[in-house]
């Protein structure tokens, strides 16, 4: 599978936010734990809405959580 062009810092922010588990994060943004796992492992790019929900939950900007790496876009 080609690497997705969007990297993320979700794992770091989860640990910084009271060591939130993937399950807790998933429940709070309305997706399954498997989707959070897939996003963290760069196997799925979330929709804009979901990306904003995650960033808002961590109280940071969306660019702090997700980074677009143009070179990987194949």
């Amino acid at each position: 599978m080609t690497n997705l062009p969007i990297k993320n810092q979700i794992r770091r922010f989860r640990f910084e936010t009271g060591e939130m588990t993937q399950k807790e994060l998933a429940a709070r943004v309305g997706v399954t734990r498997q989707t959070i796992v897939a996003i963290e492992n760069a196997k799925y790019s979330p929709t804009l809405e979901l990306a904003f929900k995650i960033a808002e939950l961590f109280n940071v900007g969306i660019e702090d959580v997700f980074q677009y790496t143009a070179g990987n876009d194949k």
């Binding site: 998933a26 309305g30 997706v31 399954t32 734990r33 498997q34 989707t35 196997k43 790019s45």
Partner: protein, 151 residues
């Protein structure tokens, strides 16, 4: 294993079972000779109708039963049973791929009809490709689940 993955594996199992039972019933138990003669279309129609109704009932009961029993046993909440955006994306892409298999079957059956093949074989080409399309869809789902999916 998430309910989504589990239901996909179980669906694959029920699909194989349903079409194996159908093949056994039609080709071994009833025999091709049963589907010839003046009533052939009625018999073919009844057999395929039974396949659809009984197959769906079996599939729904087994898949839903597995999911709910598993949820109860593992203590998973209703939240784990939702179909979220990634699941929908996987579903849409898998259905798109399987649609091509089904369409190939429909075109082949139309070709068979044009060539004058017996109705029994024309209908069973569609049944065969419907089974293949189902398995293609489920196989594609498992591929996207494990390998990842990109919009």
């Amino acid at each position: 294993m998430s309910p989504f993955i589990k239901s996909t594996y179980v669906s694959l199992f029920t699909t194989v079972v349903i079409f194996l039972v159908y093949a056994l019933w039609v080709f071994q138990i009833m025999g091709i000779g049963y589907f010839t003669g003046p009533d052939e279309l009625v018999r073919i129609g009844k057999t395929i109708g039974t396949l659809i109704l009984a197959g769906w009932a079996f599939h729904i009961i087994v898949v839903l039963g597995t999911i709910f029993l598993d949820a109860r046993k593992s203590g998973k909440g209703m939240h784990e049973l939702i179909v979220d955006e990634r699941d929908k994306q996987i579903n849409y892409r898998s259905m798109y791929i399987s649609m091509h298999v089904l369409c190939a079957g429909i075109f082949l059956s139309i070709g068979a009809l044009a060539l004058g093949w017996a109705p029994f074989w024309v209908f069973n080409i569609i049944v065969l490709f419907y089974a293949l399309a189902n398995m293609t869809e489920l196989g594609a789902k498992l591929f996207f689940i494990h390998q990842g999916i990109r919009a």
